[in-house]
């Protein structure tokens, strides 16, 4: 974008054509450049500036994990055969020899034991999948807690949220492919959820599985989703995601010299290209190290799929954990009241499996809320400005607290997915864990919200204190009359800037609409807005700072009590 729009003369154009490089390498480069237009690409993208901060790299980790997933996954497709046809295992894993199993499981075992490097590639693929979703999740949390989803990035946030959902889908379809008992149990849960849907459930289940579960269709179908449809969609959305990042330019943390109109950092070429390229190999290296040393999804343990056994410690991969956990959390009865309802119909009755349906609500709400949050927040705050400077999480206490509350809720569902292992490893009663988690499911987010908000406000007050009075220097002075006081070190201007330059809006009351009427919805918005902004710590103003400087000259006068007057409440 920075390229100047000069007018070129006819001679200048011809000059380009006549340019003759002197070296062999130069000739090749010039040949390619005149045909590909590398110069303009480099000029356009090579000068993009990216700010340096380690929290900005999780998106990159997700991208690199995805590249590794494609590389290792391609390798796996050369041997894996997603057929549910029965075969007799004759590979080299002794404890399964002679057993009947599906071709899918047999070829997954072949990959693990009889293909050179196959087990490593399988493990690399699986570890990369876990990291892919983990990196996306953290990236998303970083974006949320720093407010990077605000205008103009709302749509890119939606692209990112879609990528997360697609990542879950890709992960789950992959987890189901080897057709051992563990993944079959996972599919059985999906089957159960589908069948819990009133009226249409059975039809959808039969449609997906090609008949009664498990059928002989589902693995090939999931395979097509896993190796073609989902990766293609992910790839497309990644392209859109990155294109939008380039269009919007990267956000940056507040700091001296950083404004809403600039980006302070390093250009892609050469610094960032080198860093990012190197980082790809670091991610690859770390994943390879883990894959070479830590066993993952030891599918030979689980045995060929058979709908009857369920094994202890049967869990999905971590990102499906909350779905599993919320099902474990849900009681089937409330006292003597059964939650399974049968709706009488002329042809008998239609069963409503509420213990399966109800738990899907909180998970669905979290994911739905994730998609619409940018609009909810801007509706509440009435903030319509472009935001390229990030919020430090403490400077948006309500958003941070709300986010932590949701994360807490998610974590309780997630943890419940492994309640049996928590019971055995912490020597607790499985029942007690479940009962307490039911309470914490509702109470935990509330506690988390209150605590987080208090912590944020306290940190803001601490920042205020530091801005006004400096850091404690650790030097104790004794005055002539015997009084003790500690020296404070004033912050330099750069440090000060970061602490004082943030927005802390006051609540906006309900506004009348064009007809001069305050609607109920507007009143509701105003209430939310008040909840959002009423507890606030105002940033240090210029006057306050100058006054504090005045005090310095009157040392050892008593310092004003800390924090007083820093909080403005709504009845101010």
């Amino acid at each position: 974008m920075s390229a100047t729009k000069e007018k070129y003369t006819e001679e200048q154009y011809l000059e380009v054509d006549q340019y003759q490089p002197k070296t062999g390498g130069g000739r090749i480069a010039n040949y390619v450049d005149t045909r590909v237009g590398g110069t303009s690409i480099v000029r356009e993208f090579g000068r993009k500036v990216f700010p340096d901060h380690w929290t900005f790299m999780f998106g990159e980790v997700a991208l690199y994990s995805f590249v590794i997933l494609i590389l290792s996954g391609t390798f796996l497709t050369f041997w894996f055969d997603p057929s549910m046809a029965t075969t007799r295992y004759s590979g080299s894993y002794a404890p399964l020899q002679g057993l009947e199993m599906s071709t899918a499981y047999a070829t997954a075992l072949e990959l693990s034991f009889d293909v050179r490097g196959g087990l490593f590639m399988r493990q690399l693929h699986h570890w990369a999948a876990l990291l892919f979703v983990a990196a996306m999740s953290i990236h998303m949390l970083r974006v949320f807690f720093t407010g990077a989803f605000r205008k103009p990035r709302e749509l890119n946030w939606v692209v990112g949220a879609s990528l997360l959902i697609l990542g879950l889908g890709a992960g789950f379809t992959g987890y189901s492919l080897p057709d051992e008992v563990l993944s079959g149990n996972g599919l059985r849960i999906i089957d159960g959820m589908l069948k819990a849907l009133p009226v249409v459930g059975t039809y959808i289940s039969f449609f997906l599985f090609g008949g009664e579960f498990p059928g002989s269709e589902v693995i090939p179908r999931l395979y097509v989703m896993h190796i073609m449809v989902l990766p293609a969609m992910i790839l497309l959305l990644i392209a859109i995601h990155l294109f939008l990042v380039v269009t919007h330019k990267h956000t940056q943390y507040p700091g001296p010299g950083r404004t809403e109109r600039n980006v302070v950092g390093y250009p892609v070429g050469p610094v960032y290209a080198a860093k990012a390229g190197g980082f790809f190999f670091i991610v690859f290296g770390i994943l390879a190290l883990i894959s070479g040393t830590f066993q993952i999804n030891a599918l030979w343990n689980y045995g060929p799929y058979d709908p009857s056994p369920v094994q202890a410690g049967a869990q999905p991969d971590w990102y499906i954990g909350p779905f599993e956990g919320v099902l474990r959390l849900m009681p089937g009865y409330l006292g003597d009241f059964s939650l399974e309802w049968v709706i009488p119909t002329p042809w008998g009755g239609n069963s409503l499996a509420m213990p399966v349906l109800i738990p899907m609500i909180p998970v669905a709400l979290i994911f739905l809320g994730m998609f619409v949050w940018p609009w909810i927040e801007s509706w509440i705050t009435k903030d319509t400005k472009e935001r390229h400077l990030l919020d430090r999480p403490r400077n948006a206490p309500t958003r941070t607290a709300f986010g932590v509350a949701i994360v807490t809720n998610y974590m309780i569902m997630w943890g419940m997915g492994s309640n049996d292992l928590i019971a055995t490893h912490f020597q607790l009663s499985l029942n007690d864990i479940t009962y307490w988690s039911r309470v914490l499911f509702f109470l935990g987010p509330v506690i988390a919200y209150i605590l987080t908000k208090r912590i944020c406000l306290s940190l803001q007050r601490k920042d205020r204190e530091t801005a006004l009075h400096g850091d404690e220097a650790g030097v104790i002075q004794v005055s002539a009359d015997g009084g003790f006081s500690e020296k404070h070190r004033r912050l330099d201007d750069y440090e000060l800037w970061t602490l004082v330059s943030y927005d802390s809006p006051e609540p906006t009351p309900a506004q009348p609409n064009a007809k001069g009427k305050i609607t109920l919805l507007e009143k509701f918005r105003a209430r939310l807005n008040r909840a959002f902004y009423e507890d606030r710590v105002a940033p240090v103003s210029r006057e306050e700072y100058l006054e504090a400087l005045e005090h310095d000259h009157h040392e050892p006068e008593e310092l004003p009590a800390s924090g007083v007057g820093a909080i403005e409440s709504r009845d101010h």
């Binding site: 900005f56 057993l99 990196a135 980082f279 190290l289 410690g313 954990g321 292992l421 607790l428």
Partner: protein
């Protein structure tokens, strides 16, 4: 199997099944009583030696009678041991579960309190109180004669729902648990199946014949001896420990490299 499935709708199938069931039940009952006698006679040398029984009784009175009663008739604190058999004592005492350290949801495994001879004497005494499952013959503990693949299948159908597919153990209700089977001696695995200690169901010889039990033991031994082909096992706990690892170890490595990459060189 094919012939069986074709004939199962035969008009006389039900009658045949009933007769078969009656025959098996009756046969097993008589067999069970004679097997115990037979096994008792096989192990006659040690387990029916009056000296051992007498020594066992002395040990019992000194160490077990507080809870199990002076004649092993049971008290409020512990069940009757009449008819539990030598295998039960061999398992409970041999794995250190008895004498129990404290009352709890389940007796914990700990270093054995008695040596092999004392355990045998205690078992001999308890076996003398009434017929029960005997200590398994060596023949059924010889894993070389077992079929690990078949044992694996039996294990997954009968055992893995509590003990985990990799025999790493699992949770039961209210603080009870199925322990890990790694490193458990074959005779104890066998005895656990015949006696059903703690919360474990009994897998009698009618349910799993001794050869089946041997296959399961052979599977466990093979499984253990092969190690973990893919590297460190992370506790054989499947996706939970894998997820925990990527969120802790994996991310720690990555974040360290990120911080390093974005730090200023100055």
């Amino acid at each position: 199997m094919k012939a069986l499935s074709q004939k199962r709708r035969h008009p006389f199938a039900g009658v045949a099944l009933l007769l078969l069931g009656l025959l098996i039940t009756g046969g097993l009952y008589s067999a069970a009583t004679t097997i115990n006698e037979a096994q008792a006679s096989e192990n006659a040398d040690a387990y029916s030696d009056p000296d051992n029984i007498e020594e066992g009784e002395r040990l019992f009175v000194a160490n077990c009678a507080t809870c199990h009663g002076i004649n092993a008739e049971g008290t409020d604190a512990g069940p009757s041991l009449i008819g539990v058999g030598a295998a039960s004592v061999d398992f409970q005492v041999g794995t250190g579960r008895m004498p129990m350290q404290m009352q709890g949801p389940q007796a914990q495994q700990k270093p054995a309190q008695f040596n092999d001879e004392q355990t045998m004497q205690l078992a001999a005494y308890v076996a003398s109180l009434g017929a029960g499952p005997a200590v398994p013959d060596d023949e059924y503990l010889d894993v070389d004669q077992g079929d690990p693949a078949r044992g694996g299948e039996l294990f997954r159908i009968n055992c893995a729902m509590c003990h985990n597919a990799a025999a790493a153990g699992g949770a039961l209700t209210e603080g009870k648990y199925a322990p890990s089977l790694h490193g458990v001696e074959p005779r104890h695995v066998y005895a656990a199946m015949t006696t059903g200690p703690q919360n474990m169901p009994v897998f009698s010889d009618a349910n799993l014949v001794p050869e089946d039990k041997r296959d399961i033991i052979a599977f466990l031994q093979t499984y253990e001896s092969q190690g973990t082909p893919g590297g460190f096992s992370l506790g054989f706990l499947g996706p939970v420990s894998e997820g925990l690892f990527i969120w802790t170890g994996g991310l720690a490595l990555l974040i360290a490299s990120m911080v390093w990459l974005t730090s200023r060189s100055s």
